[in-house]
């Protein structure tokens, strides 16, 4: 079984290294001459300079149906096209491709092409941050000039309030915890919720209580 990696820049290098240590034969197809030169010197792989969407280039590899084809070019349409070429010409069963625009997933799925949704992966990592930001902004918009303030507090590892339930904390009047951002989730706290180090607390309090709140949660 061969691994055929088409396109990409740095990712194929590290991918190829991993496959090679596992004992697979790796083929690398790229249009970039310098990259090909570099990889043919540094990798124990067959490096082919050429356009992966050309049959003449692909024919050099003698792809067989049990081989794995990994597509890493920058464009969904190009990856799709090459995936379909190797499926039709060599009956390749396993094709994995990078997918930039996740709305295209349905089309790839239809043809049994496996996708790695890069954009979604990045978004999933950023979304909690955005979410926290949006919550605070919305609360701020709603509460501005109404005598109420929104505060964001990070819970340190050595914080006094960490590892305690809200009940145990005895939070002063006029201050409530509106939400807790924990890793990638937003929790609506209850009395028995335990505050963890690294949590972010979103507080709502009367304007005249904001100093008290800061004191209470930071001391």
């Amino acid at each position: 079984m061969k691994i055929v990696i088409i396109g990409g820049e740095r990712v194929p290098y590290f991918l190829a290294k991993k496959f090679i240590t596992k004992g697979y034969k790796v083929y690398f197809v790229n249009r970039d001459k310098e990259l090909c030169n570099e990889y043919s010197r540094t990798l124990n792989a067959v490096v082919i300079l050429g356009d992966g969407q050309s049959k003449q280039v692909l024919d050099q590899i003698e792809i067989e149906s049990e081989d794995i084809v990994v597509l890493l070019t920058e464009r969904d349409r190009k990856n799709f096209f090459i995936a379909r070429l190797v499926q039709e010409y060599y009956n390749v069963r396993n094709v994995v491709t990078l997918l930039n625009n996740s709305e295209n997933e349905d089309l790839f799925e239809r043809y049994g092409i496996r996708t790695l949704k890069v954009t979604d992966l990045i978004m999933q990592n950023i979304e909690p941050l955005l979410f926290e930001n949006e919550v605070v902004e919305t609360l701020n918009d709603e509460s501005s000039n109404k005598g109420v303030t929104v505060l964001k507090i990070n819970v340190d590892w050595d914080s006094k309030i960490a590892k305690k339930t809200l009940q145990e904390l005895e939070i002063p009047d006029g201050i409530i915890i509106a939400g807790i951002v924990r890793k990638d989730r937003y929790l609506i706290p209850r009395g028995d919720t335990i505050i963890q180090p690294d949590d972010k607390l979103i507080l709502i309090c009367n304007q005249d209580k904001s100093e008290l709140a800061m004191e209470f949660f930071f001391s």
């Binding site: 969904d76 349409r77 799709f80 379909r84 039709e88 089309l107």
Partner: protein, 159 residues
């Protein structure tokens, strides 16, 4: 204007406004759009580059949409769900293939025709249910026909 062919006359009699989306406003896309709109089809051109659309003559009777046809939102704006025929005319085979299949499989367009630049790709397009038009193949066939006709007439003269 040139006189209508028999096929066109037939279409006009049916009195159904055929809706055609043409992807790409290059030399071929533009000319096809002009002709189809003159015949009386409803035509929308989808083109990524605004400056290419400026080449459309003033008497073009159809619509034009700026956007990448490989993005769903663009084809939705072009009302691809109401489209009778999709014609892909960009100069890039992967783009034509991709757009054709989004049209056929996602928007359910039954008739899809595509320009195919590299003739070795014709098989893949046709296998996927796309009618492929290869300018290279057309040129080769035309040359062949012309040459054979020439040979026949020479052979006929010699009898």
């Amino acid at each position: 204007m040139s006189t209508d062919t028999a096929e066109v006359m037939k279409l006009k009699q049916i009195n159904y406004k055929f809706y055609v989306i043409i992807v790409g406003c290059g030399k071929i896309g533009l000319e096809v759009a002009m002709r189809l709109s003159h015949i009386g089809f409803n035509v929308t051109i989808v083109e990524k580059d605004p400056s290419a659309l400026s080449l459309l003559p003033e008497d073009y009777g159809g619509f034009a949409i700026i956007g990448d046809a490989a993005e769903r939102e663009t084809l939705k704006r072009a009302k691809a769900d109401k489209c009778d025929l999709l014609i892909a005319t960009t100069s890039d085979d992967p783009t034509n293939y991709f757009v054709s299949l989004i049209g056929a499989k996602i928007f359910g367009i039954t008739n899809v025709i595509s320009l195919v630049k590299n003739k070795e790709n014709v098989a893949l397009f046709e296998k996927s249910g796309i009618r492929a038009i290869s300018p290279v193949n057309l040129a080769i066939e035309t040359f062949e026909r012309n040459i054979l006709e020439g040979v026949e007439s020479v052979a006929g003269d010699e009898k």
